[in-house]
Every structure is written in C-alpha cells, then in structure tokens.
Amino acid sequence: MTDAAISRSTRALLLLLAVELVVFGLFGRNFLTLGNAFEVVRASVELGLLALALTAVIATGGIDLSVGSLVGLCAVVFGWLAREAGLAVPIAAALAVLAGTLGGLLNGWLVTSLRVPPLIVTLGSYSLYRGLAEAATGGVANYTGFPDGFLSLGQGTLWGGIPTQLPLLLLAFLFFWALVHRSVIGRGLQAIGYAPEAARHAGVPVGARLRLVYVLSGSVAGVASLVYVARLGQAKADAGTGFELMAITAVVLGGTSIFGGHASVPGTLVGLFVLALLQNGLRLADQPAELAGVLTGMLLLLALVLSRERKPS
C-alpha cells in the first residue's frame, strides 16, 4: 500500500471515528463526556501497547500471536515475585518485563535462526506461554493485595482526571512512531516486509531487525501485563486472554498491510480507538456485547475491501 493509500485509509478511519462520535453521542447516554473518554482510554492502554509493538512486527511481514499469552505469563511472574517471593514491586516489575523480553527473544530466535514462519512459531508460543502461566500457578493462584502505589498505575489519575497509564501509551506511541516512520531501522523493517531478499542484498541486517521487533513485542507485553495487573488488582494465569486478536484487528484496521511492507503507527492508534469506542458506545446505548463483536468483524472486512491492494504475487 502506498503512503497515499495509507493516509487515505487513515482519513477514512478518522471519518468513521467522527461517525461513531455522532451516532453514540445521540444514542449513548453520557457518551460524549470527559469521564467516559478517560475511562475508554484507561481500558485501552494495554491493548494499545500490544498493538503498537505488533505494528512493527507486521511491518516486516511477520506476526505475533503470542502477545496475549505473554501478558498472562508476565502477570503471574510479577504476582509471584511481588507477593510470594516478597520482592520489592519495582524489582518484580523489572523482572516481569525481562520475562517478556525473553519470550520475545525465543520467538525472534526461532524466526531468524531457524527460519520457522512467524505464524507457526507464535502459534506454538501462544500455547507454551499461556501453558507455563497455568502450570506455574496450577491455574488456581491469584495474586492480589498489591500496594496502593502500584495499583495507582492502573487505577489512579493524574491532574484533571487523566488516567495514570495514558502517558505510558503516549510514550510508546512516540517511540514506535519514531522507530517505524522516522528511523533507518523503520525503513529497513518495511523493506524486509516488502521484499526480504532485496532488503538483504541492500545491506539491511534482516536477522537483527527481525529479532529486534519480536523482542520489543515481548518487552511491551511485559509492560502491558503490569498495567493490566495494576488496573484489575489481580495477577492470574488468564490475564490477557484474547488480546492478540484484538490487537491484530486494530493494526489491520489502522491500515498496516498484513503482508508487510507498509505500516502506519498512527493508523494503529486510530484503529484501536475506533474499536474501543464501538464497544463503549454500544454499551452506553444499551446494546448487547454480541453486537459489538459482529460489527467489529464487519468493520474489519469493510476496511480490507476498501483499502485493498493489488499485491504482486
């Protein structure tokens, strides 16, 4: 997809966002209030982090199905370290992010050194990471009772009611935007997605770049798990279930091509909020949750049809 096409699709998305604001503003009670906006943002940060990192992965023509499971694994690692092993919260948090990084490293290694297709690697690690979380806790363990300071990361507000985790999302957005759109690395990523062999011949260190995006994906999953645990106040093996599919939906909706080669980090964020507002608006309009699911599927198809590229095959 050319850059013109991407900005076309981003414009279409912004239009859709505007339509949602109007429709739900009319039919959803208290939809267009600041309080509601903040709550929507608060609930979207974890998915947002995952989707941003996934954009870089998908730009290379790859995919990472294991991010949701990694959130679960990192959550129980954090919970155990902080509540059972008695470590200080910052240390436990750092180790949890390290666990995520290691998970990403494994994915990256399998993709680059053994050349196993990312879909298969992350299909396996999707089961493995969730499985490790379940095995470590017996499925039963549920760590709670975290200190208020930590919980405020997920539940607290900064001045004016801004959710505490929003700056984190903005930071991640700036980072990935700079990485993908303003750096040599980012150009390399999209080159890899578009034509891996040509990229290699042009001197792009393909292996290192791929490992980087998968490692980033894993680390970000670790960070997301901390926000999740802080928001819910509990760390359990089922944390993050289903997050990977929602994150992928946001990325594709945002205009990034699933084949790789052209990515849009801003598009991902817009796509994320289109989905979040859809769910939120329907709820406030007393519509059942299932309708949100059906509309999400249809929206995704519509986005695909409208922005389809003639992929040279």
Binding site: R11, L14, L15, A18, V19, L21, V22, G25, L26, F27, G28, R29, N30, F31, L32, T33, G35, N36, E39, A43, E134, G138, G139, V140, N142, T144, G145, L151, Q155, Y228, R231, L232, G233, Q234, K236, A237, D238, A239, T241, G242, Q279, N280, R283, L284, D286, P288, A289, E290, G293
Partner: protein
Amino acid sequence: MTRRALSLLLLVAAAACRGGGGGASSEGLTVALMPKNKGNPYFVSCRQGAEEAARELGVKLIWDGPTETDAAKQNEVVEAWITRGVNVIAVSVENREGLSTVLRKARGRGIKVLTFDADALPDARDFFVNQATPRGIAETLLEHTSRILGGKGEFAIVTASLTAANQNEWIKEIRELLASKYTGLKLVDIRPSDDDRKRAFDETQSLLKAYPNVKLVMAIASPAVPGAAEAVKQSGRNDVKVTGLGLPNDAKPYLKDGVLDSVVLWNTQDLGYLTLYAANALARGTLKSGATSFEAGRLKSLRVEGDNILLGTPFTFTKDNVDRFDF
C-alpha cells in the same frame, strides 16, 4: 470534501454532546444485571427469573456482560454503566478484588450495588444475594459422593476451566473436607472442561480408562454434567455414577437413565428473580442494612443474615423430583 464532512459531523457531535447527558431514566428504575458469562446456561436461566421480576415490577432491565468469562471485561462494563447512569448494578463477580474497586466507585456515585452468585469484597456492595456458601456446596457434593461410594472409594472431578474462581473455591473446600471429615474418599484427578460439553465428555472418557478404580465422577460446571454423564453412559460402566452441579433440564435424561445420581443446584431462576426484587427494593429504599428478612414477590419472605440475602440451601435434583422444574 472530506474535510467539510468532518467539520459538519463534529458540529453535530458537539450539539449532541449537550443533549445526550443525564442520569437514569426518570420514568422508572433501571437495573443493570451482569453475569460472569452471558452464554453459560446457568446464567441464561438466572436471566429468565430476572426478566420475570422486571416485568412484575415495571423495572427496566439491562442484561449485559462478557460473552466469555473475562475478568477485565466485567470492569469495563461496570464503568460503562456508571457513565450511562443506572439505579442499581447487580453482578456475579468473576474478579473479586479488581471489580470491587469499580463497584466502590459506582456506590460513590449514588448507584446501589448488589452482588449475586459470586461476591465482591463486602465494602464494595450493599448486599449479596447468596444462594449457597462454598462450604455448603462442597458439603452437599461430598455427602452425595460419600453416600454413592459407601463412604470409601476413589472419585474424580471435572471442573469448568482451571482458572474459574467459583469452582476453585469449591475445590478448596472439598479438599479441606476430604482431609477432615471424609477421609475414606480419595480425589484422584481434576480435569478441566473449559465449559465445553464435548471436552467434558472426552476428559471423562480418559478418566474412566486411566483410573479404573474411580467409581464416581463429580462434574461441577453446567456443561460438564451432560458431557460426563454421556461419557459414563457410553462406556457401559454400570459401576460408575455421576453427580455434580448443573441445571435440571440438562440433567433430566441422565437422571432418568440412572447414570446421573443427583445434581445439586438451587433454583437459578429464583436467584435472578430475587436479585431483581432486592435491586428494586434497594433503589426505593425499602431494603436497608439491618434488615432480617425480605419479601420478594412470589418467593414470599426470605432470611437476611447481616448483608447476605439467603435464597436457601443447595437443592438436590433427583429422578424423582426433576420433573417439577423447567430450567
């Protein structure tokens, strides 16, 4: 063209902003009811009772929640209801600590909060509509198990998912009772069904073959009961019986067959019905803390202990009484 359309829409949106506000409907009460999982037959039957009560009382009932058991989603739905503005929120809690924070916030905004089926932290809600304590459920299940096995023998459990909070609480109580009171019984294995009947069926088949001394399968999730019972039936093992927790309609054919000995539950429709009545009374101020009894329509008077409204004790469905019920 796009820019103009966009600005036009934003103008309309700004206009809608001023108009769409407001709290709950001023004509009548709005009660928002949330199960752990909208698709689970157990909660589907709670909804039926709740809708019956809503019709009787003239109350608007919003029924929503996660379509699959999802702790995070419950938080988001409650947040949305706080934003939307409802009179009462009644929820079956998947995530005790996490949901309690949001429920406290709701109470802070003047919304009444009830829990039913599974409780939050006591300071996060006004009342808990309690159908049976985890200890009571575990006791009843083990009583049946002991009776069927003659006080001594091996049994296995087929549960919901490995992380399901309610089931894990019952299993914890069961283990304690096995150690203290039912020492002749031995729990051999616990397999998950993930709320899927076929999975419960497959796991039971494996259990029967792997542990030939197991003479009882305890299925503690509503889709697991017909799955486990069908597996035992198809195995032809007349020496193995099934008991557990499930809905009478699912259990009926297997109770009649004899492969399912008994199924423990409570009237789930009544649970929903009672919850709605309690919600209504709470909102109107007729139900206050300190009450010792509560009148709920056709259920007449029910006991209130502290902040627990008690539906009753667990009820055992057998082939002799199951025809009286339809849920």
